[in-house]
Symmetry: C2
Subunit: 279 residues, 2 copies
C-alpha cells in the first residue's frame, strides 16, 4: 500500500479553495495527516478552534507561515515585524508546529542597499532568537529564489543561510527549510545541503515550469517541470533529515483554479512518482 505518512501539504497549495477547517477535514478524508498552516487562514478561526480540529483529525503541523520580513529601514515598521514574528512563535507553540517559516524580506521601498537590508535582518533575528528558544519553537530560515531578492527575500541561497546560522551562533531554535523550487539551480547545492546537516527542519516540494510566467505565483506540480526532486530529496535525507515532504504550490493560473480534491489526489500520485521516485 502506498505510504503517505510523511506527506504534508501546505495550505498555499489550495489557498484559494479551502479555509483551514475545510483543509484539515479535506486532507484527513484523503488520508493526509500533516499540514503547513498559513497565518492569515488561522486567524479566521483562531488558535483554540484550530487546535481542536487538528486534534480531532490527528493532524501534525509541519510548518507555520510566516515570520520575518525584517529588512525594513523604518524603525516602527521593523519593530512591528519583530512583534509579528514573536506572535507567530506563540501561535506556532500553541499549534505544536514543527517550525515557523522565516522569510527574510526584500529591499525596503526606495533602497538599493542590499548589505544593509541583510544586516537589519540579522539584527532582528538576533533579537528574536532568545524568545524562540524560550518558547521551544524553531525559526526555519527559508532562502528564496534569487528572483525574489528585490521584493521578498534578501536571503537567496542555502550557503547564505548556513552562514547566518554560524554568525548568530544559534542552537536548535534556528533551522533551515530546503525548498526545491528555490535551490535546484544552485551550483553549490550538494555542498550547502551537506553543510546544513542537523539544521534542516522542513523540506518543501513543487516544480519549476519551463515556461514560468510569473516570479511568485506560477509554480508547478511535481513532475510537470524540470527539477530532479528525488535527487535533492536524497541529498537532504542523507544529512539525517527524516521528516515530512511538504507540497507547497503557488499557482495562480492552474492549481488554484481547480477542484481542491483533484489537486490533493494528483499531489498524492506525484508524491510517489516524482518526490519519492525510483530510489
Amino acid at each position: 500500500m502506498a505510504d503517505y505518512s510523511k506527506l504534508s501539504i501546505n495550505q498555499w497549495t489550495i489557498m484559494r479553495q479551502w479555509s483551514l477547517p475545510e483543509a484539515i477535514e479535506g486532507y484527513a478524508r484523503h488520508g493526509i495527516h500533516a499540514i503547513g498552516i498559513v497565518r492569515e487562514k488561522l486567524r479566521e478561526i483562531g488558535v483554540a478552534e484550530a487546535r481542536r480540529l487538528l486534534r480531532a483529525h490527528q493532524m501534525t503541523v509541519t510548518g507555520y507561515c510566516i515570520g520575518g520580513l525584517l529588512t525594513d529601514s523604518d524603525p516602527a515598521r521593523f519593530r512591528a515585524n519583530v512583534a509579528e514574528t514573536r506572535q507567530a512563535i506563540d501561535e506556532a507553540a500553541a499549534l505544536a508546529a514543527q517550525c515557523v517559516v522565516f522569510v527574510a524580506g526584500g529591499l525596503p521601498a526606495g533602497s538599493k542597499d542590499l548589505p544593509a537590508a541583510q544586516a537589519r535582518c540579522l539584527e532582528g533575528l538576533a533579537d528574536i532568537l532568545p524568545y524562540a528558544r524560550e518558547a521551544g519553537v524553531t525559526l526555519a530560515l527559508e532562502p528564496l529564489h534569487p528572483m525574489t531578492c528585490a521584493f521578498r527575500s534578501c536571503l537567496s541561497t542555502l550557503g547564505q543561510a548556513n552562514s547566518w546560522i554560524e554568525q548568530l551562533r544559534a542552537g536548535p531554535e534556528l533551522g533551515i527549510v530546503v525548498d526545491v523550487y528555490h535551490v535546484w539551480w544552485d551550483p553549490q547545492l550538494a555542498r550547502a545541503i551537506e553543510r546544513a546537516a542537523g539544521r534542516i527542519v522542513a523540506f518543501h516540494v513543487c516544480d519549476w515550469l519551463m515556461n514560468t510566467v510569473d516570479l511568485r505565483l506560477d509554480r508547478g506540480m511535481m513532475g510537470d517541470g524540470v527539477i530532479d526532486i528525488p535527487r535533492i530529496r536524497r541529498l537532504v535525507e542523507e544529512t539525517g533529515y527524516d521528516g515530512y515532504r511538504e507540497v507547497e504550490i503557488f499557482s495562480e493560473r492552474n492549481w488554484w483554479r481547480r477542484d481542491p480534491n483533484e489537486v490533493i489526489a494528483i499531489a498524492k500520485a506525484r508524491y510517489l512518482s516524482d518526490v519519492i521516485g525510483d530510489s
Copy 2:
C-alpha cells in the same frame, strides 16, 4: 564636459527599432563609439559591410552576441551549436570584437539532469578553446540569472564561471562578462568578482525593476530599479578592469517601444547618474 568614452550600447537595447547600419550611424550621431553587436543583425548586412560602417564611424565592438548553447543532449544539435560558436569566433575576429559573449544553454527538452547539461557545456568549451586561441578571440562566459537556468543558462553565478575557467586551465581565450542584472543578488558577489581579477572582459549594465513581469524581456534602464550599479562597477574596476560599460536592456513593454534616439539620450544621462554615480 561629460565623458562617454567608455560607454558602449548593446544592440539589444534598440533591437526592435534599428538595423545594424542604423545603430552604428545613430550611436555616432549621439557621440557614442562603442557597440555590442548581435549576430542576427550582422547577418542582414554581412561582415564586410559591417566592417566598412564600423571603420567609417570609428566604432569599437565591445562584444559579439552570442556563442554557446552547448547543453543539448542530441549529438547533431550539439555539434551544430559548436560549429555556430566557431563561426561566431570567426565573425568576431573579422569585426575585431573584444569578445564573443558565451551563453551556456539551459536544460535540453525533457531533461532534468542539470549536472549532465553543465558537463556537456564544459566539454564543448574544451573543444572550442584552441580554436578561439588560434583566432585571437576571447570567449566571455556570462553567468545568467538563476531564473534562466531551465531555458537559457545552466551557468548561474560568477563563482561557477571562475570554477569553469580554473577547471579548463584556460588562458586569455576564456574570460568573464559581469552583467549587474544577473549577479546583483549574489551573497558571494564581492568575493567572486575579486577572484575574477584579470578575467573580466566586459561589464554590462541595466537595472532590476521591483515589479518585474517577465523572466527575460523586462529589464529596466539604469536608475529605474534597485541595483546599486556604482558599487558593482567599483568592485569590477578594483580588479583592474578598465574597459567599457555596456548598456544592455531587453524591454518588451517599454524601451523597445520608444523612439531609439530618446532611448540613447536617456541611457547617456543615466550612464552618468547611475553607472558612474557619485564616486
